[in-house]
């Protein structure tokens, strides 16, 4: 490749980069996501802090003037036959709820109040058995919480009946100090969230910018700007310049987001360190980011080359989605494999997939991030992916060269193969 080719690639890349980063869609998406990051990183800590309902202790500290906020809502307690022997204990266990005791059994009137949301639910105690009434909901864990509290109450009662005081019972129930120490290198728990986030970034950005390349090619074809482009520059320079320019625009967008997130997380680091699954994010080793960068570049190039070639085959932008479906499916399947693989990153499937170039960027990244993988394996995976990326780049340049001048129906793969064959012998003439 001589210097005039490089110059042309640089010109194409620079133009694509400038036009893309100047576009309203690009600017607004960068800003909107940045605002979402800002909101999440500033608001969530307060929100989570607020939600922390005080740890339960049945022993009230007399010396402390505590204002108990009854967040849990109102529960109507129907103690029909005096099954709840120690109401005081019961109330202290249901600390976060406001209890309304009644002797009458649970009836339709109470059900109505639950339905209308006046009260959270009801408990009926009869012959030593408990029934919990509540509005069923997917997200509410109210019945489980209540049943747990009832169990606790019953355990304290049982201990008390065996002759232990509540204080003694509390000592029995006090959990021992157990520390879980990971002896096998990385802890999947610590890195789960980090890996999850990075895989998401990898997935979304490669998909987004890869498809942007195909849309951009199809738009040039549709507006016939291609007629001039193809006579002004070599097709290889056009496609590689475009992939490079869009990729750089994408990288700079992600860089903006990562910088904002990092700064915001550092500002609130005292809080984030307490969130178990996120703590890994703050202590993530640098090589992980370097590796992510490498896999991002390779994955992006590989898929952008395929998307670019597909974009050159359609005459109208609307036809892209249909034509690019196979590639999109290939990519989504890689994402799903790596997502499921995160549950068990050491599985055979993950090991195999981390060497399949189309899946390697995400699957190998999951493995490196969550388990210990030898450098050799990482290197092999990188080399295989890089080789495939180079091959696909070469192939897509060939397809592009033919595709950009074909209007009408997109050719079948068989027709395409024929045309490429005829071009093969014609050297850069």
């Amino acid at each position: 490749m001589n210097s005039s080719n490089l110059g042309q690639i640089r010109n194409v890349a620079a133009y694509e980069f400038r036009q893309l980063t100047k576009s309203k869609v690009f600017l607004s998406s960068t800003i909107i996501v940045a605002i979402i990051i800002l909101i999440l990183t500033t608001v969530v800590p307060f929100f989570l802090n607020d939600l922390k309902v005080g740890d339960f202790s049945p022993i009230s500290d007399e010396n402390q003037d505590t204002i108990v906020v009854k967040r849990g809502g109102v529960i109507s307690v129907h103690d029909v036959d005096g099954s709840i022997k120690d109401k005081e204990l019961f109330e202290s266990i249901f600390l976060s709820f406001e209890l309304e005791f009644a002797d009458r059994p649970y009836d339709e009137a109470v059900a109505e109040r639950i339905r209308e949301g006046q009260i959270k639910g009801a408990i009926q105690a009869k012959e030593g058995k408990f029934e919990i009434y509540s509005k069923s909901s997917m997200i509410s864990n109210f019945p489980y919480e209540v049943s747990q509290l009832i169990t606790t109450y019953c355990q304290y009662r049982a201990m008390n009946e065996k002759g232990l005081s509540y204080e003694q019972a509390a000592e029995v129930f006090a959990p021992p100090e157990v520390n879980i120490i990971n002896a096998g290198g990385k802890s999947a728990d610590d890195t789960y969230m980090l890996t999850y986030l990075l895989i998401m970034v990898l997935y979304i950005s490669v998909m987004l910018y890869g498809q942007m390349v195909s849309v951009s090619v199809a738009t040039e074809k549709n507006s016939r700007a291609m007629e001039l482009l193809i006579t002004s520059a070599k097709p290889n320079n056009l496609i590689f310049g475009k992939i490079l320019g869009v990729g750089l625009a994408g990288l700079s967008q992600i860089a903006v987001w990562i910088i904002i997130s990092t700064v915001m997380l550092q500002i609130n680091s005292s809080f984030w360190k307490k969130v178990p699954m996120l703590s890994g994010l703050l202590e993530a080793p640098l090589y992980l980011f370097v590796l992510m960068f490498l896999f991002y570049i390779l994955g992006y190039f590989m898929y952008a080359a395929m998307f670019g070639a597909l974009g050159s085959l359609v005459s109208r932008v609307e036809d892209i989605s249909a034509t690019s479906t196979p590639v999109a499916l290939l990519y989504v399947s890689g994402f799903l494999i790596s997502m499921f693989g995160m549950m068990n990153p050491d599985s055979l499937m993950m090991k195999i997939c981390s060497f399949i170039p189309f899946y390697a960027p995400m699957c190998m990244f999951v493995r490196v991030s969550m388990t210990d993988v030898s450098m050799l394996e990482v290197a092999i995976s990188l080399v295989l992916t890089a080789a495939t990326a180079v091959f696909l780049g070469w192939l897509s340049a060939k397809i592009y060269r033919v595709g950009v001048l074909m209007y009408g129906k997109a050719p079948s793969f068989k027709e395409l193969g024929k045309i490429i064959k005829t071009l093969k012998n014609a050297k850069s003439y």
């Binding site: 010109n11 133009y15 507006s223 001039l228 006579t231 002004s232």
Partner: protein
């Protein structure tokens, strides 16, 4: 400088698009590339510009294999196309740099041509905000931005009003005079006759007619005589004279036209005999000259022939 295409042949699949085409275009001259729709003109242009190679044949500049890094092309495609949403100056500079200009030169050239086409005030507008004719002018400015050695114009006059057509004509003539090779493809024959010294007519991928336009016209039988009389009644008398056999058997046909009549002779050597008969009619003669076939007539005749052969 001389650009030539030698025995260029190109097939797409089974279809022969160009069959043994030869073309020569010289500096300081305009070559008219003619042919009906689908004749293979665009394919020939693309091969000349190196978008794809011919199956056989060569493109040469001054009898040497063309080197596309040293020859600059300016191309106005028939299917106009630029970036509709991008700013005009931005994309002009871009196309300039793609063709090897530095950014600075490209900007200077872009501004020069925008001024030339009286489009300076639009330089920061997106292309699609312009009228069709103005977009056409931008497209022409992009064609000329890199000071090309070879200018290929495909239907440059379509969509231009008479004033802008005049402006473009002036620029094309100026380019030809400054020693550029201009290849001009159009269906508007009057423009071709006006600019082009040489023509190449192709039909269905084959060369139908090639050479100097003057010579081609002269090669046609010079038996059609344009006659003008001062008095319009003279034409009627001429027709009756022919019908009564007064002109002998030298006249094949008389066509009445707005400004006179065209007499077709059986033999071009009978011209003076015709003139003598006209003088005998006694009317004042205003015009008497050999009417050459128009390019349009030649085109229709040659392409028509081609159709019959197939």
């Amino acid at each position: 400088m001389e650009l030539s295409a030698l025995s260029v042949t190109k097939t797409f699949g089974e279809k022969i698009v160009l069959d043994n085409i030869n073309l020569t275009a010289r500096a300081g001259q305009a070559l008219g590339l003619l042919g009906p729709n689908g004749a293979g003109k665009t394919t020939l242009i693309r091969i000349i510009m190196g978008v794809f190679p011919p199956d056989s044949g060569r493109i040469e500049v001054d009898n040497k294999q063309i080197s596309r890094s040293s020859v600059k092309f300016g191309y106005l495609p028939e299917e106009r196309g630029l970036y509709p949403k991008h700013k005009i100056l931005d994309q002009m500079i871009y196309f300039g740099t793609l063709r090897g200009l530095s950014r600075k030169t490209a900007e200077k050239q872009a501004k020069y041509w925008l001024e030339r086409f009286e489009m300076g005030q639009y330089q920061n507008s997106p292309l699609l905000t312009l009228s069709k004719g103005n977009q056409q002018k931008i497209q022409l400015a992009v064609t000329l931005i890199c000071d090309p050695d070879i200018i290929i114009l495909d239907e440059p006059f379509s969509g231009l009003d008479p004033v802008n057509a005049g402006l473009l004509k002036e620029i094309v003539v100026e380019q030809v005079k400054s020693g550029k090779i201009v290849i001009f493809s159009s269906h508007q024959m009057s423009y071709v006759e006006e600019f082009c010294d040489n023509i190449l007519l192709i039909n269905k991928g084959r060369m139908v007619l090639e050479g100097n336009l003057r010579q081609i016209k002269r090669s046609y039988a010079r038996n059609r005589i344009m006659i003008g009389f001062e008095n319009a009644d003279a034409y009627g008398e001429l027709t009756s004279l022919k019908n009564s056999g007064g002109l002998g058997n030298i006249v094949k046909n008389i066509e009445k036209q707005d400004d006179g009549a065209v007499v077709t002779l059986e033999n071009e050597a009978d011209r003076n005999q015709l003139l003598a008969s006209l003088i005998n009619l006694g009317h004042s003669i205003e015009a008497f000259y050999v009417k050459e076939p128009s390019l349009e007539q030649i085109f229709v005749e040659r392409v028509g022939e081609g159709y019959e052969q197939q």
